[in-house]
C-alpha cells in the first residue's frame, strides 16, 4: 500500500516537474489549474512500435505498424471484434445478393474530423484511386482476393478506373459488384486498403497527405496530435466526435519506436511504456522475474518463417535444389521445436504445414485449416534418419556427394533471425554429412531483391497473411506468380488453385476447402518450401492496461475497447 502511495507521489512530482519545464514553452496553457486535473482525468498509455510508421496513407501503407496507427484514426466499413470476426463499423448493416456477387452497405452517420459527413463517395473515391494508381496492395481488389468487378482490367490492362465495380447509390449506400462470390468479403473490409478517403481533403493535400497532423484526416477513434514522418515517438488523442466515442476509454496513446528487446524490457520496467514486445533472452528473463511473469501475454503475430529453395538452373550449382529428395532431406533435418524453444523463445509455434495455423478457420465448421500439425508427418518432421534416407536418394540421383549452398537472410528483421539462421546451419550440416550451408546476411530490401531476381540458393524468409483464408499462402506457389520465389511449377497444383479462385469450386465452400487441402498436400510432398515456425509476439502489458485486442491478421493490436484502471 505504501509502495503504491509512493508511486503516486512520485508520479505527481514527475507530472509537476514535467509541467514546470514545459511551461515556458507553451505559456498559453492555463498553467495553475491543469496539472492536477490532467493527473486525475487523463488516461494515457505508452506503447512500443518496433519500426517506424512508414506511411499514414491507407492506400500506400504496407506494414503492420502503419496499419495499426491508421486503424486507430480511420474506420472502415467493418471492424474486427475480439476474435477477429467482422462487425459493423461505418457500415451499419449490409446485404448480399442471392448470387453473392453484389454487396450493399448502409452507412451510419459519421463525421470526418473537419466536420464533413462520411459518405459512400468517400469509399468510391478511395478505391478508385487505389486501383487507378495500382498501389502495392492493389492486388487485394483483383480476382485473386476481393474480385471487385473490372479491377484486373483497370490495373493490368489500363481500363478506365471509373468502370470499377463500386458505386454510391446515395450518400449513405455503397454498392459493390464482384466477379465471383467472396465469402470473406466482409472481413476484407477492415483491412486499411479498403478504408475511405475524403476526396476534397485528399486532393488538397496532394503528395503531403498523411505527413503531419494538419494533412491527415480522421473519422475514427483517435486523432493524430503530433507526428512527422520518421518520428521516433508521436501521440494520438481521442476523437470526441467519433461515432462510437462513448466506447473509447483511453484518452491518448503515445507511440515510441524501440529498437532492441533489451531496451524494451527496461523501458517497461521503468514504467515509461505500458505495452512492449520482447524476444530472445529477454523472454526467459521476464518469465523468471516474479513481478513480470504475470504480465507476459503471448499472442499470434500471424506470419510464418520458412525456407525458400531456388529451383532454377541458375542457382544452387546448376539447380541441385530442384531435386525433391534433397529438399525433403533439408526439411526433415530441421529441429523446429529446438529452434522455437532455444532461440526464438517468444512462444512462436513450430510449423509443419505450408499454411500456418491459427488464422484461417473454416466458415462452416470453425475448424482451423492447419490446426492439425501432424497431417504431413510423413514428409515434414524432425527425423534425422528419414532425412538421411532422402539425402542418400538425392545423392544417387544427382551423382554427387557434397553440396555447398548459401543461405541468405535479413539482418534487420529481428535479433532472432540471425540466431535461427546459425542454428539451422548447425542442424542441417550436422544431420546431412557433406552439406555446407554458408550464411549471408543482408538487408531485407536486398534479400527481397535477390529473391525476386532469382539470385539465391536458399532464403530464410517470411510471409504474413493478408486475409483470413489459406489462399493468402497457397496462391503464392502457382506457376508464374510473382511471389513464387522458388520457381516451382506443378500443373495439378495450378489447376486446383484456379478451380478455387475462379473455377469449379467458387460456389461450393466445402469442396473449395478440401481442394485447398489437396493443393497443400502436393506442395508439402514436394517440399516447395520448408516451413519453420509461426511467429508469436511475447507482449508485456502493464497491470493498468486491459482489454487490448490482439489479432494475427490485418490489424495486430486494437485499442478501441481497451481500458486503463487508475
Amino acid at each position: 500500500m505504501t509502495k503504491k502511495l509512493l508511486a503516486i507521489l512520485v508520479a505527481l512530482v514527475m507530472v509537476l516537474a514535467a509541467c514546470g519545464t514545459a511551461a515556458p514553452a507553451n505559456s498559453g496553457n492555463d498553467e495553475g489549474a491543469k496539472p492536477a486535473e490532467t493527473a486525475a482525468a487523463e488516461k494515457s498509455i505508452g506503447v512500443m512500435l518496433s519500426t517506424n510508421v512508414m506511411s499514414l496513407d491507407c492506400n500506400l501503407a504496407t506494414d503492420g505498424d502503419s496499419f495499426e496507427v491508421i486503424a486507430d484514426c480511420i474506420d472502415g466499413l467493418t471492424q474486427m471484434d475480439a476474435d477477429g470476426a467482422a462487425i459493423p463499423a461505418l457500415a451499419e448493416s449490409w446485404e448480399i445478393s442471392e448470387d453473392g456477387l453484389t454487396w450493399t452497405f448502409h452507412l451510419r452517420d459519421a463525421k470526418w474530423a473537419n466536420g464533413d459527413p462520411v459518405t459512400a463517395n468517400d469509399f468510391v473515391f478511395a478505391w478508385k484511386t487505389a486501383v487507378a494508381t495500382n498501389v502495392e496492395y492493389g492486388y487485394m481488389f483483383d480476382s485473386s482476393v476481393a474480385c471487385v468487378k473490372n479491377a484486373d482490367e483497370i490495373m493490368y490492362e489500363g481500363a478506365d478506373p471509373d468502370t470499377l465495380g463500386v458505386s454510391a447509390a446515395d450518400d449513405k449506400t455503397l454498392v459493390v459488384e464482384l466477379i465471383a462470390p467472396v465469402s470473406f468479403f466482409d472481413s476484407l473490409m477492415y483491412f486499411p486498403t479498403f478504408y475511405p478517403l475524403n476526396e476534397k481533403f485528399y486532393t488538397e493535400c496532394g503528395d503531403t497527405y498523411g505527413t503531419s497532423p494538419e494533412t491527415f484526416l480522421s473519422n475514427g477513434a483517435y486523432i493524430l496530435s503530433d507526428y512527422t514522418p520518421g518520428a521516433a515517438s508521436f501521440t494520438v488523442t481521442k476523437n470526441l466526435d467519433y461515432w462510437n466515442a462513448d466506447q473509447v476509454s483511453i484518452d491518448s496513446i503515445k507511440y515510441q519506436v524501440v529498437g532492441s528487446s533489451d531496451n524494451a524490457l527496461t523501458a517497461f520496467k521503468s514504467g515509461t511504456l505500458d505495452l512492449v514486445v520482447i524476444s530472445g533472452s529477454q523472454v526467459p528473463a521476464a518469465q523468471e522475474d516474479e513481478n513480470l511473469a504475470s504480465k507476459i501475454k503471448v499472442t499470434g503475430a500471424g506470419y510464418m518463417w520458412y525456407l525458400s529453395f531456388s529451383q532454377t538452373e541458375a542457382n544452387a550449382n546448376g539447380g541441385q535444389l530442384a531435386n525433391t529428395n534433397l529438399r525433403l532431406a533439408f526439411t526433415n533435418a530441421i529441429d523446429r521445436e529446438s529452434l522455437v524453444e532455444n532461440y526464438v523463445m517468444d512462444g512462436s509455434l513450430p510449423t509443419y504445414t505450408c499454411v500456418p495455423p491459427q488464422f484461417a478457420a473454416s466458415a462452416t465448421t470453425g475448424e482451423d485449416f492447419s490446426g492439425d500439425q501432424d497431417k504431413f508427418k510423413d514428409v515434414c518432421s524432425f527425423d534425422t534418419a528419414k532425412a538421411l534416407e532422402y539425402f542418400e536418394a538425392a545423392k544417387a540421383e544427382l551423382g554427387v556427394d557434397t553440396f555447398e549452398f548459401t543461405m541468405i537472410y535479413g539482418n534487420n528483421e529481428g535479433d532472432e533471425v540471425q540466431k535461427v539462421a546459425q542454428a539451422i546451419k548447425e542442424q542441417i550440416e550436422g544431420a546431412l554429412p557433406g552439406v555446407t550451408l554458408n550464411l549471408q546476411a543482408m538487408s531485407k530490401a536486398e534479400r527481397l531483391d535477390k529473391m525476386q531476381n532469382d539470385n539465391y540458393d536458399v532464403a530464410l524468409t517470411r510471409w504474413g497473411p493478408d486475409y483470413a483464408d489459406p489462399m493468402t499462402y497457397l496462391g503464392m506457389w502457382i506457376t508464374d506468380n510473382a511471389n513464387n520465389y522458388g520457381f516451382w511449377s506443378n500443373a495439378d497444383y495450378d489447376q486446383l488453385i484456379k478451380d478455387c479462385t475462379t473455377g469449379a469450386y467458387i460456389n461450393d465452400y466445402e469442396a473449395r476447402w478440401n481442394a485447398l487441402y489437396e493443393a497443400e498436400t502436393i506442395a508439402m510432398n514436394e517440399a516447395v518450401i520448408a516451413p519453420l515456425y509461426t511467429k508469436a509476439s511475447a507482449n508485456l502489458i502493464s497491470d493498468k492496461l486491459q482489454g487490448v485486442e490482439f489479432h494475427p491478421v490485418a490489424l495486430n493490436r486494437v485499442y478501441k475497447s481497451a481500458t486503463v484502471s487508475d
Binding site: A25, S55, T208, T228, P229, G230, A232, T266, T272, N483
Partner: protein, 315 residues
C-alpha cells in the same frame, strides 16, 4: 588573403558538384531496387520506374535533379515516408542531430583539451596515467554502451532524466545522448592534446623560451598550445562531421529522430530510397567540405607559416 579565400570557396563548390554527381551515380548502381515489394507486380515496378525517369540516361537525370536541388527541393522519397517532401523530414532530423551532436562536440572538446593539458603537464604522474586509461576506455567502449549505462542509472534506477528522447523537454533529454556521444571525442582529443603538447614542450624553441625565463601560463598558451593545436584541429574536423551527422545506434536506442537513423532507414529499410540517400549524401558532403574549408582557413590564423606558403602557392 581574400583572393585565397575566394579561390578556396570556388574549389570547394566545384568539389561539391563532383561529389554530388559521384553520389548520384553510386546510388544508382547500388544493389536492391527502390521498390522491393513482395506484393507489387513486375509491370507495376516498370511503370513506376518509367514514371520517375529512372530509365533515362544518367546525365539527363542528374541535370534534372540538380535543377530541383538548387531550388531547395530534394523531391520526395522513392519508398520511404511516401509523399512527404524530403526537406521537411530532413529539417527535423538535422535539428535534432545538430543540437545533440553540437553539445557533444563542445563538451568533448573542452573536457578533452583540459584533460590533455593536465596530463601533459603532469607527465608520467597520476593525472597522466588517469588520462591514458580514460582515453583508452573512451575509445574502446562504444558510445551506445555508455548510453545504456547512463539510461539505466539515471532513467531507470533513478528517474532523474527521461528514459527516451522527448523534444518537449529538449535540454533534459539531451543530457544522456550528448554525454555518451562526447566520450569518444573527449578521449581522442585528450590523447592527442597530450601527445602534441609533449612533443612541442620537448622542442627547441620551447626550450629556448624557457631558457629565456618564460614559464607557466604564458609559456603554455603562447608557445606550446598554439603549436600543439594545429594537428588537433585536423583530428577534430572529421569528428565534428561524424557527430553532427548523427550516431545511428545512439539515436535508435534513445528514440531520437536524427540523421543517422534516417540514413539507415534510407539504405536498409523497406527498400533503398535513392532520393533520401542522395539528399543525406549531399548534406554529409557539404558539411564535410564546409568544415574542411574552415579548418584550412583556420590553419592560416593559427600558423603564420602556412599562410605564407598558401600565398606562395597562390601565385
Amino acid at each position: 588573403m581574400q583572393k585565397y579565400i575566394f579561390k578556396r570557396v570556388i574549389t570547394a563548390l566545384i568539389t561539391l558538384l563532383v561529389i554530388t554527381f559521384l553520389l548520384f551515380w553510386l546510388v544508382r548502381i547500388m544493389p536492391g531496387n527502390p521498390f522491393p515489394s513482395e506484393r507489387m507486380t513486375d509491370e507495376a515496378i516498370a511503370a513506376k520506374r518509367a514514371e520517375m525517369g529512372l530509365d533515362d540516361p544518367i546525365l539527363t537525370q542528374f541535370v534534372r535533379y540538380m535543377k530541383k536541388v538548387l531550388k531547395g527541393d530534394f523531391g520526395k522519397g522513392t519508398s520511404l515516408f511516401n509523399g512527404a517532401p524530403i526537406h521537411t523530414v530532413l529539417n527535423k532530423a538535422i535539428a535534432n542531430s545538430f543540437k545533440i551532436g553540437g553539445i557533444a562536440i563542445l563538451l568533448g572538446t573542452f573536457v578533452g583539451l583540459v584533460l590533455g593539458i593536465i596530463a601533459a603537464l603532469n607527465r608520467d604522474r597520476f593525472w597522466d596515467v588517469f588520462c591514458s586509461v580514460f582515453s583508452i576506455l573512451g575509445v574502446c567502449v562504444p558510445s551506445y554502451v555508455f548510453l545504456i549505462f547512463l539510461q539505466y542509472t539515471f532513467a531507470y534506477k533513478t528517474t532523474l532524466l527521461p528514459y527516451f528522447f522527448d523534444s518537449s523537454q529538449f535540454l533534459k533529454s539531451s543530457i544522456i545522448p550528448s554525454l555518451s556521444l562526447s566520450l569518444f571525442t573527449m578521449s581522442t582529443i585528450a590523447r592527442f592534446t597530450r601527445n602534441e603538447m609533449i612533443e612541442v614542450m620537448d622542442s627547441d624553441y620551447v626550450l629556448l623560451a624557457e631558457a629565456k625565463g618564460m614559464y607557466g601560463y604564458k609559456l603554455i598558451t603562447r608557445h606550446v598550445l598554439r603549436n600543439a593545436l594545429i594537428p588537433i584541429v585536423t583530428v577534430l574536423a572529421p569528428l565534428i562531421v561524424d557527430l553532427l551527422t548523427g550516431a545511428l545506434v545512439v539515436e535508435k536506442i534513445y528514440g531520437i529522430q536524427g540523421i543517422g537513423k534516417l540514413m539507415v532507414d534510407a539504405i536498409s529499410g523497406e527498400g533503398i530510397d535513392y532520393n533520401y540517400v542522395l539528399a543525406l549524401g549531399i548534406l554529409y558532403s557539404s558539411l564535410y567540405i564546409g568544415i574542411m574549408l574552415v579548418v584550412d582557413l583556420l590553419y592560416g590564423v593559427l600558423d603564420p607559416r602556412i599562410r605564407i606558403s598558401a600565398k606562395g602557392g597562390d601565385q
